[in-house]
Point group: D2
Chain length 135, copies 4
């Protein structure tokens, strides 16, 4: 199981570019923040794609940790995200939790809250396939 510092260190290009900062990494929750500034669309609101990126990042991370316990790897199949609000500044926090952790598929939910206002601005789900690594 990676800890928060390791999660941050092994971060990929996109997560780094978006400014995703890991806060908590455990079997039941993966939590990270992301700034609104720098991730906005042309009208000045947080880009829906940035929200989806945070959802995908945290769900994939959680699923990969869960699958690694059985020597398996994961592959995202589908993301479904509802946009419930938005913001022009501040920081959002994503909290990922597993809904289903099976031997062949996993389903993770990620709720995204705007920290300053306390509002839930999005909620997404990622359907994930669990696979054996190629030898």
């Amino acid at each position: 199981m990676l800890d928060v510092e390791q999660a941050q260190l092994q971060q990929g290009e996109l997560g780094f570019k978006l400014g995703i900062i890991y806060e908590e990494v455990s079997r039941s929750r993966v939590v990270a923040t992301m700034p609104v500034e720098g991730n906005r669309q042309p009208y000045g609101f947080l880009h829906g794609g940035a929200i989806c990126s945070l959802v995908e990042e945290l769900a994939s991370f959680g699923a990969a940790m869960a699958a690694a316990q059985d020597g398996k790897i994961v592959m995202g199949l589908h993301q479904s995200s509802n946009f419930l609000g938005t913001s022009t500044s501040g920081t959002v926090r994503g909290v990922a939790a597993p809904i289903h952790v099976g031997s062949t598929t996993q389903l993770w939910q990620v709720d995204v809250t705007h920290i300053e206002s306390g509002k839930l601005i999005a909620s997404g789900r990622v359907t994930i396939a669990v696979r054996s690594p190629r030898t």
Copy 2:
């Protein structure tokens, strides 16, 4: 109706950061490319969130253009994206087309192809609300 140069010039922070380059802007299609390099996850594959960002960008752009004809604005409600393949290098192209352009909602589909291999790597749909601008 914006042309390709205007679309590129009015691009927001996230689109710029991801390297999205508009290629075609019309009533029936919005097309843009995005590099894989710089948008990858920790294992070196194109990040699913980058794919969702391209989907959201192009669907929103097309929907905004369509709504502007009636003096309306748009708001993304939901994105559903299937990941069908991936890539570690090269460039992807997203092609957005409208499925439904109504007076209160729109639905846009965005197919994402890996240019070098010719493979469809994702297909997403964005459900969009059409609203009157606040006066």
Copy 3:
């Protein structure tokens, strides 16, 4: 606010055909059961479409009750449902709860559990538009 008996009495054709029985109707939860027998696909498992029907029924019912308080009506825009397990017999229970109740859109979640095994077999979400009734 309708009570359980009224909910059952005003049931539509499809709900009746599927054997949906309302158990609880409140502002925060709408609960109903549905038999597996009679709602199976060719291989003898509960049909995914029957699951989606229960999800749509309960989410729409809850949303309609919430909107009625403001004299509004609702219209389902999108359903996203994950199938996590299945069953060949017995009864399932759907529990609908609101995630977002806004003035123009609502989002409801419906978890479907197989009563006899206690397993969560599906979880769905319905994105709903809130409208003024035509006069």
Copy 4:
């Protein structure tokens, strides 16, 4: 490969109850009709769950046929359906076509049209897992 008569004969309980009639069965398309009457919600409109049932039925049928060529079976993982219109009478037709037919997953799209008005009233996608049958 089943033909239309065989498809109809092997129909499951739910498909029969909804009045689904197969019209065409081939590698690239599965087509069937469903009556609006008998499948409505309390306000007299075609129930969204009936639409989802038609989507699930046709996508699963097409995927099962495709997987059977390799001796595999299928399992629906997720359905995402957009509701674009509705009807109070007449008949709808669903046309299923494959977007991706892989060795471990498939993605099928089903467009649902109201025959009498010619309008597209819904479009859904089903993400499907391909598995080896248990021996």
